[in-house]
Symmetry: C3
Subunit: 142 residues, 3 copies
């Protein structure tokens, strides 16, 4: 029979950039082991930081993400009107929508069914974004 | 016990641009209040308009989104082959895939558990897109 | 009463580009017809290929996607540090995060409730990506 489980957690503050947070999330989700099948939703309650799933091994992948997103969504463009909150703010909103506000990951036998090279990234687009709030929702069968 | 609820709704036609539609969706989803926990999926049945979650307060954020997406995915590129439906068509398809075809939002105590600054955007990429169809699906516990 | 169904499938190897795979997935998901309502999640277990939903009719749309993504996320940029796996590798990771790692599609009366023009794309970003693994999870009512 299917069941729902939901909790809110916080991720510690991180500098601007792409950060692997799979372990920090799983440490706060011990309930996962009880679900045989289903999926986990991770939802970030912010509009200037995002989530994505990508390569979990080489840290330079995350550095290249930051370099490329800064080129693709540059600061201080002449057409930006929303500038009061700093030059990192409007690009942060755009980057957040290019990446994900929520991730949905299948659960199989009490674990996230990720590929070998997949990890969860927090994409922090503000220079000083502070701690970030997540809502974790599991829908599954025990 | 978990239950499913599903309905199709229409959003009224809007001009090209990014539009806050949280209230227009919630007005057509009175059933939400009965769900204690779970999540809402919003699925758009189109390939030239999309959805995203972003800043719900300052209208210039939505204007800057439109400016930036027009720069990042310009019209009339020499490599476009799909041009018969107008110069806004192929960029509309690409923008739709850069943003979201579906949103999944956690439900907590009968309400969408959005962050303070989060709202739902309809991203209308056609000059004359017309009314847009959404499928709303709730999975949750009452 | 809600039920979960889950299986892993493989998509055959394809060349770099955007490919319509709706039929290849549905042929391996005969169980879909038993679900009256709910939704299907399609999750790709890779970080250099992605999924999206877009136009299912004109093949030049998929060609234009490939052209535009190659321009928006070019190879051989001077700021790339992750270069050991070939010049198509780092752009592949970035493209994968710009598109989707998972799709969620509503189910209505035993069928995917897609719009008339919507199809499922495999977005193959490597020159030789090989076969790609998907996890299919249905949550629904029979």
């Amino acid at each position: 029979m299917s069941e729902f489980f939901q909790k809110e957690i916080k991720l510690k503050a991180r500098p601007r950039g792409f950060h692997l947070v799979t372990d920090e999330i799983l440490e706060q989700l011990k309930e996962l082991r009880h679900f045989k099948t289903g999926f986990l939703q991770i939802f970030i309650k912010h509009t200037s930081a995002g989530l994505t799933i990508n390569e979990n091994a080489d840290p330079t992948v995350r550095e290249d993400f930051e370099s490329h997103f800064n080129k693709m969504v540059p600061e201080d463009q002449p057409y930006y009107k929303h500038t009061l909150e700093g030059s990192d703010d409007m690009p942060a909103h755009i980057k957040a929508s290019l990446l994900d506000t929520s991730l949905q990951i299948p659960i199989t036998n009490g674990k996230l069914n990720l590929g070998t090279w997949q990890g969860i990234y927090l994409c922090e687009h503000r220079n000083h974004g502070g701690s970030r709030k997540l809502v974790l929702t599991i829908m599954g069968e025990k």
